[in-house]
């Protein structure tokens, strides 16, 4: 028994409790479950999306990658920005049609829009296939984090099973609402931890962020740029392009658009336009 265990258990119980609580007072039907009755406000949508993007990758992948590969990791900053440029035109159109036709999922959308069940089947299959490595990444990350933070008291496989079970429980009960509310908590925590570590570690060990880069540069002059053999400019460009396009792949980011709620305008202005949600795969990312 160590001090980390009660904290882990608290968060474990808290995430289930919050997930179940988020259903309060709502008549559950498919539309409520999958797209929040098309009634989410812009802030919660913003958090849901942030929850889909900032996951265990933020802690493990995005920190381990620069440690071993240096400058190549900067691609992580680029692809999201470029993907959202596409989204500006793509998303409102998808949302408009999804909202008009009362669609609740990505395969739904394709099957209605193009009147083709086969197309919708292909989309579903691609979505599931794209989701598997993504899920594996998230759950492995979850396992590593729990194993480390519990000082080995909770083995990796057990934490994956428990985490998966908790997530399945609240998603089945509350659907997208649980994912959204857990994303709120998780986003705040991730942000606090990332900002703290990002500022504190360089200050503590090197006296500043600039000083840290200078030190790395002194140790290895090419480390902070793209370098041969694997990570040259071509690798960088194609990785960004692929990731930016793949942003729309497994329904986790595409789905929210088909499901935004009532207000038609693309803008903020006085009325908020952005009503949305995504499917359970997004809840995986927000809980993991």
């Amino acid at each position: 028994m160590n001090a980390a265990l009660p904290i882990l258990i608290l968060f474990f119980a808290g995430s289930i409790g919050l997930g179940v609580w988020s259903k309060r007072g709502k008549e559950m039907n498919l539309e409520q479950w999958s797209v929040g009755g098309r009634g989410f406000g812009s802030i919660i949508v913003f958090l849901l999306l942030a929850g889909e993007i900032y996951t265990t990758f933020t802690f493990l992948g995005a920190s381990g990658y620069p440690y071993s590969n240096g400058g190549a990791a900067f691609y992580i900053l680029c692809y999201g920005a470029l993907a959202y440029v596409f989204s500006y035109w793509l998303a409102p159109a998808i949302w408009r049609y999804g909202s008009k036709e009362k669609l609740v999922s990505q395969p739904d959308w394709f099957s209605r829009k193009y009147s083709s069940r086969n197309l919708s089947l292909i989309v579903t299959l691609i979505g599931v296939v794209a989701m598997i490595p993504y899920l594996q990444l998230q759950l492995t990350g979850l396992g590593i984090i729990i194993e480390e933070t519990s000082y080995g008291a909770i083995p990796r496989s057990l934490s994956i099973i428990l985490g998966g079970a908790a997530m399945a429980t609240y998603v089945v009960i509350s659907g997208i609402h649980s994912a959204a509310w857990n994303a709120v908590i998780k986003d705040i925590l991730v942000l606090v931890v990332v900002v703290f570590i990002g500022i504190y570690l360089p200050l503590h060990y090197f006296g500043g962020i600039g000083a840290m880069f200078a030190e790395v540069h002194a140790q290895d002059p090419t480390f902070l740029q793209l370098h041969e053999p694997v990570h040259d400019s071509g690798w960088f460009i194609t990785s960004i392009l692929l990731s930016a396009l793949g942003f729309f792949m497994c329904g986790r980011t595409t789905s929210w658009r088909s499901t935004r709620a009532s207000t038609p305008r693309r803008s903020g202005g006085t009325r908020c336009s952005c009503r949305s949600t995504s499917w359970c795969c997004c809840s995986c990312s927000s809980s993991a």
């Binding site: 470029l82 440029v85 000083a211 880069f213 540069h217 002059p221 902070l224 400019s233």
Partner: protein, 69 residues
């Protein structure tokens, strides 16, 4: 015009990368490639903001087709 404004981010973060791939000079304490990439993330937001305000769909009172309130 609006579509043209969406191009600079792609030029900055894709086309110009071979040129920007250098460590020196350090700017604001960041190696040049990192500075370049961060700069373009910010500039992408600037471009999209300008597009947003130019877009007739976002004018106050604009009605988008095909949506029931």
């Amino acid at each position: 015009m609006r579509f043209a404004l969406a191009l600079p981010p792609f030029i900055g973060m894709l086309v110009l990368i071979p040129w920007a791939n250098r460590t020196d000079p350090f700017i604001l304490g960041l190696p040049f490639l990192l500075f370049w990439v961060v700069l373009w993330v910010v500039l992408t937001a600037v471009c999209m903001t300008i597009i947003f305000f130019l877009d007739p769909a976002n004018k106050p009172g604009a009605v988008e087709e095909g949506v029931t309130p």
